[in-house]
Symmetry: C2
Subunit: 425 residues, 2 copies
Amino acid sequence: MSTPYDAMWEKLNLDLEAHAGLLEVLGKFYGDIYLSQSGRLKGMEYLDFVLSEVHGLRIKELQEAKAQGKKIIGTFCVFVPEEIVLAAGAIQVGLCAGAEAGKEAAEKVLPRNTCALIKSFVGFKLSKLCPYIESCDLVVGETTCDGKKKAYEIFADYAPVYVMEIPQMKNACDRDLWKAEILRFKDKIEALTGNIITAEKLKGAIKLVNDRRRVLQRLNRLRAAVPTPISGRDVILANQISFYDDPVRFTSKMGELCDELEARVNRGEGVAPKGTARLMLSGCPMAVPNWKVPFVIESSGAVVVGEESCIGTRNTRDLVDESAETLEAMLDALADRYMKIDCACFTPNRERLDHIVEMAKELKVDGVIHYALSFCQPYTIEAYKVDQTLQKAGIPMLAIETDYSMEDVEQLKTRVEAFVEMTRS
Amino acid sequence: MSTPYDAMWEKLNLDLEAHAGLLEVLGKFYGDIYLSQSGRLKGMEYLDFVLSEVHGLRIKELQEAKAQGKKIIGTFCVFVPEEIVLAAGAIQVGLCAGAEAGKEAAEKVLPRNTCALIKSFVGFKLSKLCPYIESCDLVVGETTCDGKKKAYEIFADYAPVYVMEIPQMKNACDRDLWKAEILRFKDKIEALTGNIITAEKLKGAIKLVNDRRRVLQRLNRLRAAVPTPISGRDVILANQISFYDDPVRFTSKMGELCDELEARVNRGEGVAPKGTARLMLSGCPMAVPNWKVPFVIESSGAVVVGEESCIGTRNTRDLVDESAETLEAMLDALADRYMKIDCACFTPNRERLDHIVEMAKELKVDGVIHYALSFCQPYTIEAYKVDQTLQKAGIPMLAIETDYSMEDVEQLKTRVEAFVEMTRS
């Protein structure tokens, strides 16, 4: 079936046949998991539309921006400071990393014992399935885990890669290293774009990204209501789309969604029957279209009311201080804000344990599902400490380790159902 | 069977029965792999003796040192600067991490998908099988990989743990961070021992550790002769024992071994028949008693002539500059020397690729066996780049991924034999 985007995809050197197959599967998957829900907010139509155009209209926008001389920066991690990219007049997008397509190709260059997210982005590139990667002038990796750190070395054979070093502790020397890395990144982006980052431009970019964080914070505050007024899946989708949609438009549309949600909350309406178990997700990021676990949970007598995740509060909890007036002070504010991220790449990572308990209590959850991608050592190992900490707080936890395949869906459902049952007894 | 050390082991709170079983298996294993060799140097008797007393006499020495007020520092990695420990009058020992004993206990707190080395040290502690860990006043970990970094957080529930941060790149800000980490470590060790590290003491310690590196460098130069004058297993043993034997005594004894080896080389004598394939090992460390792969190789028509490994040249190649006279200059010399380590924790890690090719050429090898522990992401992923680089240099490589179990010995033997055959065709 031909589409208005075929010529663009061909120009981007995608594997057109495989790509068409991918979009078809994605459409069906989205229909089953998203469009089948009842009682959705009208404002979700915007996200449905953006998702339906994920490889179409948004890519067209990126191509148009490129034609006007703008640069496209692809990323995989919440540590890459988008404020720098925006201040240089470039566009930052999260890259495809949430589907199994391309797994076989990835396993030719990576060990099979590599997490699904890493195999996914390498596979998407090798199989020519991701129009975002193909649109990128630079792909920015980071050293958050061994898997990504070493995979970027191989990825660099196929794409223009730049890697930011993320420190592993939070001492003064780590803050120094991170500040130096932000400066190195600024130089790189200025050189790539040919634009100098001024205090004025950076101030605007900080405000813009903070505004997006603020609207997602508002969404999280509203969705915490009892009864639950929006499905976890829908909130996850909003967080996922925040990584690649135009930030101004996205923030405005999410504001409208929040207004509608607020009215619903005020009416005391919910999407799940009274007494549905309230669960929180904690752990690894879920990139589009990795909706397996939220779907399993919400098909098992529970609703997801919070995501302690990079695609969730880890990305939106902290704002950059907006009071700085000089470029130097703004760069310091950026360094400080990003150092607050409680990624499992840090040791120790007590902040994360505290945040999880705090969030679980605020959201009045019946339990926490710890979600880790198989072979993700930082999160699979940290799960033990999370469990210890939640046990002390009297909050039950179920640890799930999985990948992007659908083979374990029934098994996961059985485990989640048993967990939900247990939280009620 | 009672031994003269039973009371000591009991006082160290070892599981006496399980420990006796471990020593029995170790003794048999050592007999099969080491004592069965023919044509061994007389000087190897010292190493045989040290190994036979690995949990006996050496532990007794450590206990005696402790009784005199000395502190024992346990480590798992070549990044921990022993010079600092020695300069403070303390003793540094490598900890048990090379056997499967305790695996079940380790898997209760760590994911099964964790490398054998990490499961080993956690298991040894949880199962009360390692008299070294029980003798330690401080266990010093490091952030070289996600697995260890996160496992130390759990290990800290059971032992006094201190973690050094190892940078992930080699830019100026990384050197700054590493220098700060050395200073933090110095403060910690001074506080622990109550001894101030003076320039004079540090100068002596630098010389002492360099001397041990120099004698192991000499061993490596001599063993490179054709025909091969000493088995790879024996050289690996010397490297392994260097981590826990008294450094002065060890260096002296290895000097004698080298004298004997030199005479043998001058006589043109070898331990392997002429035409035996010369292979080099490259990759992960092999802690005592992890001799599986060297044994498999040397039972398959080949001899190991070099180890590009932490238990090998990664630990001995670079000396600390001895010309510094002030404490500050010595600390800088230490920082510089340790930053040269070409561990797969760095990205990029071009130095390692260059070193491997250089070493393979110098040693005139027929091929390289890349050895990686399963689930060791830095080395399993870097293996791809090593293979690419060796291919370009026309040197064949076989990638082995394994753990500490004996189940795959026959399968490995078949693969190594086929590889040896291939290098000759």
